[in-house]
């Protein structure tokens, strides 16, 4: 797929254009946060709680703390900073317990920042931090969401006649599911640099983040400062996967230290901090019931979901579980639903959006329940799906979201064809095939772009969206150049500087092309209109007689031609701004996996994957496939090795790459990827989103393949050797 053009190929759009960003990366010329070394900067090291839950009796700072330039505790920040703000969601009750910048009287997870030390180097700051004594009174930690008696978010929705559906159903299928917490693990850890200009009252913050907008809003809220007095700059970003979207408490401390000390202050976290103190993904359990009639038509779904939210609500902690709850009808035409969500406080680091952000959980809960139903009813899992798939769009679900477009049946058939299903069993090994379908909420809200014709006739575009590995500089240039009829080199993109780019929403929820791309083409169209008007004046003809040609040449009916460069010379300041707004769009797809389990050891090998995604119009099939395979690898990691587990006292067991493994090239199976392109009617590009499908579809497909190989015995991920070995012997782990 990647080597060819997409179905909707134009001159540039739909083509596998190689990335413009690559050369400077390949030559080592990038500038990530820690590559910025402001002269004379002070460095921060944090004192973090070693307890999952404790009362703080006091913090003792030695009088003459060697090399320290400053020490910060909650008492030093009192009255100057607020807790991080909390975002709610429609129809839900969400607590206002935001994350404090530094812990005051209580710590609620191991790794929570309690104090911070400022010194001339990171090493000196770490040395000094070790001399700070915190007097803790340990308290009993709560580590299980179901066992917690503090509900931080609650949502319950009933729609349709659920009671009658279950009362009259020919079959009622019940399934329990549990997905452990995962660490997002971008290869570049988090970090921030801040400086404060007292004369101008201007706070400048460089931060490794998914966008400048949410960092800016967070800083403004925490410091109660007008947004105009804050400048946020996002440099090169080495991956995020959701974890650099919401502002971090550590970033706030760095800013506070810069304001207090008058120095430039830098924090580039190490891997241990990243693993234990970044907000995590997943951590949800569910009990699901499905009512079906005698012909295996799905009548109603009933579900209760418990989310392990951690000690506090980060700005977006409450959002992913709500997404899960809203997607509990999956890709199926189910007319009645009763879904309750309980987001519980536990003594762990908060959860938050991590690639998929609630959608992999929904796909796993729904799709594994569907396979349980297929086994109990004695129906082929593919046939059960075919019978119940939504076929017409727009489709309003029982839970209230409107799926805009899709071709679910086509995705499923293509996945079945690509994966080449296999089931076998001998005395050495068992082999099984499984399917997982998904529907993904993407886009929504708004995004912005400014386009400006420069004096040399090239187009400069400033986008509210911003990259951290996706390839915006290429994809967005393809869109702009195609629209204007010029070459890629004639388009320059700028991102990530809050003083330069228009205020937007940012990069998450697979929204860049659908939202940012749509705003961009609207801004480019605005420039094009102004160019036509300018050309009409210059050539003294009616606009209707002008034609827009290749290379951005405007020609009159008498053959006279004017180039963009000539137009820019006579008419200064041709520019246009756009703000594109739309309802949510819904990507979808079908994944399939063939797995093999060795009888002697319980060892799992994923032999191959098929990935079929419908993200609407694909702008660059090469980059889109890169997103699919990268997402699949994360989904596969979740199946094979990844789990952010805490011991019985609430200590993280995953503080290094020894305790938290990622898969390597040696474990990656072949992936047959294909796209179905049902355009969204909600934006001018027909685009949906492709950033998360791989992470959403893969776990459900692999889990169903594992259950098929085990002859119907179910276990939850990660599918470790010991769990599968016991399952092969018919014992629960």
């Amino acid at each position: 797929m990647a080597s060819g053009a997409g179905l909707s190929a134009g001159r540039l759009v739909g083509r596998p254009v190689r990335r413009r960003e690559d050369e400077r990366i390949l030559r080592g010329m990038t500038r990530y946060l820690d590559d910025i070394d402001p002269p004379g900067a002070a460095h921060v090291a944090f004192v973090r709680s070693p307890f999952a839950h404790a009362r703080i009796r006091g913090v003792e700072v030695p009088e003459d703390l060697e090399h320290a330039l400053g020490v910060f505790t909650a008492a030093d920040l009192e009255g100057r900073v607020s807790d991080l703000p909390v975002q709610g969601f429609e129809g839900g009750r969400v607590s206002a317990e935001g994350h404090p910048v530094l812990a005051g009287r209580e710590v609620r997870y191991a790794g929570q920042p309690v104090a911070a030390v400022l010194a001339g180097s990171r090493a000196a700051a770490e040395d000094a931090a070790e001399l700070i004594e915190v007097d803790y009174e340990p308290l009993e930690p709560v580590l299980d969401a179901r066992g917690s008696d503090v509900t931080l978010s609650h949502w319950h929705k009933r729609s349709g006649d659920v009671a009658t559906a279950f009362g009259t159903a020919a079959h009622v299928v019940r399934a329990s599911h549990s997905l452990p917490r995962l660490a997002p693990v971008p290869m570049e850890t988090r970090g921030a640099i801040a400086s404060y200009d007292a004369a101008e009252d201007m706070l400048t913050v460089w931060v490794s983040a998914q966008d400048s907008h949410r960092q800016l809003a967070g800083l403004a809220a925490v410091f109660n400062r007008p947004e105009e007095s804050i400048h946020v700059i996002v440099p090169d970003v080495g991956g995020a996967f959701g974890s650099k979207g919401a502002p971090a408490p550590e970033t706030m401390l760095v800013a506070a230290a810069a304001i207090t000390s008058g120095r430039t202050v830098k924090w580039a976290e190490d891997r241990e901090e990243n693993l234990i103190a970044s907000y995590q993904g997943r951590g949800m359990e569910a009990e699901v019931e499905l009512a079906l009639d005698a012909e295996a038509n799905m009548l109603a779904v009933r579900a209760r979901i418990w989310a392990d939210l951690g000690g506090y609500l980060m700005p977006t902690t409450a959002i992913p579980p709500h997404t899960t709850a809203m997607l509990m009808c999956g890709v199926y035409d189910i007319q009645a639903a009763d879904v309750e969500l309980l987001g519980r406080r536990t003594n762990k680091v908060p959860t938050g959006p991590y690639r998929g952000a609630g959608r992999p959980e929904a796909a796993y809960f729904v799709e594994c329940t569907v396979d349980v139903a297929a086994r109990e009813l004695g129906v082929d899992p593919l046939e059960l799906r075919r019978r119940n798939l939504i076929g017409e769009f727009p489709y309003r679900t029982a839970l209230g979201w409107t799926y805009d477009s899709g071709d679910y049946a086509r995705c499923l058939e293509l996945a079945a064809e690509l994966v080449e299903p296999e089931h076998s069993s001998d005395d050495q090994r068992v082999v099984g095939t499984g399917f997982g379908m998904y529907v993904e909420r993407a886009g929504g809200l708004f995004e912005t772009a400014d386009a400006e014709l420069q004096a040399d006739g090239r187009l400069l575009v400033r986008s509210g969206s911003s990259p951290h590995g996706q390839g915006h500089d290429t994809t967005f240039a393809q869109l702009a150049a195609e629209r204007l009829g010029v070459d890629l080199e004639d388009v320059e993109l700028r991102f990530g500087d809050s003083k330069e780019v228009p205020r937007g929403v940012g990069t998450f929820a697979s929204r860049s092309v659908a939202m940012g791309g749509s705003a961009l083409v609207q801004a480019v169209d605005g420039v094009k209109r102004s160019c036509l008007a300018a050309a009409a004046r210059l050539l003294d003809v009616d606009e209707a007689e002008l034609e827009w040609g290749d290379g951005g040449r405007v020609s009159a009916s008498d053959g006279r031609i004017v180039t963009l460069r000539e137009l820019a010379a006579v008419e200064r300041g041709i520019q246009a701004s756009a703000r594109f707004e739309s309802d949510l769009v819904f990507s979808s797809g079908a994944y399939a996996a063939v797995v093999e389990i060795e009888r002697a050891t319980g060892g799992l090998r994923v032999l191959r994957l098929a990935a079929v995604d419908d993200a609407g119009t694909i702008v660059n099939p090469l980059l889109a496939e890169g997103q699919v395979i990268g997402g699949s690898a994360q989904g596969l990691g979740q199946c094979l090795v990844e789990e952010a587990a805490y011991d019985e006292e609430g200590n993280p067991t995953f503080a290094s790459f020894v305790g938290y493994s990622l898969i390597t090239a040696a474990e990656m199976p072949p992936v047959a990827a294909a796209f179905v392109e049902s355009p969204s009617p909600l934006n001018p590009l027909g685009a949906k989103g492709i950033g998360e499908g791989g992470a959403i579809g893969t776990p459900a497909a692999v889990a169903n393949a594992v259950a098929a190989a085990l002859g119907g015995v179910r276990v939850d991920p990660p599918f470790s050797d010991d769990k599968l070995w016991l399952a092969l012997r018919g014992q629960a782990s």
């Binding site: 030559r27 290869m187 570049e188 850890t189 891997r271 890169g626 994360q634 790459f657 020894v658 090239a665």
Partner: protein, 155 residues
């Protein structure tokens, strides 16, 4: 302590603390920030450089251990004639996304292929398992490395 090393063919002399890691010396002492630090535990491979032509994890070495020796970092990989075959192949196969792990992959695999010019796909996959990437899912990297290996052995 005073050390003198050659980095990418250029002589560097400097004063370092005994505890200074080679990665920190390269990044902050020599100003060569192309070498990235991903874990400081020797696991992720992002900090891989070549010491006298051999791939080493610069976060697991002290700067003083490199005294009197020759280092190559990602900044020195491309020659006068343009990008190295691995760099070209990574670009062509879309084997990089955020790019943070890329220098480590390039430096590891350049050394490996020079040492094992006839490595097959399985051996290349095994060799790649010493470097972590969170974006690409590795398949494009495997494709790029196979392609570059063919080119490097002149096939």
């Amino acid at each position: 302590m005073r050390i003198s090393v050659e980095v990418n063919g250029r002589a560097y002399e400097g004063e370092v603390e005994a505890r200074t890691l080679l990665s920190d010396f390269l990044r902050h002492g020599a100003g060569l920030t192309g070498t990235k630090v991903g874990c400081e535990q020797g696991v992720c491979g992002a900090c891989t450089v070549q010491l006298d032509g051999e791939a080493v994890r610069s976060c697991l070495m002290l700067a003083v251990q490199a005294n009197g020796r020759a280092l190559t970092t990602v900044e020195g990989l491309a020659g006068e004639g343009g990008l190295h075959p691995l760099q070209r192949a990574f670009h062509e196969a879309h084997a990089l996304q955020c790019g943070f792990c890329t220098p480590g992959f390039l430096m590891s695999m350049d050394a490996f292929i020079r040492e094992h010019p006839d490595a097959d796909r399985e051996q290349l996959r095994e060799a790649l398992a010493g470097n972590l990437c969170r974006c690409t899912g590795y398949l494009a990297i495997i494709e790029a490395v196979e392609h570059a290996a063919r080119e490097m052995r002149g096939a």
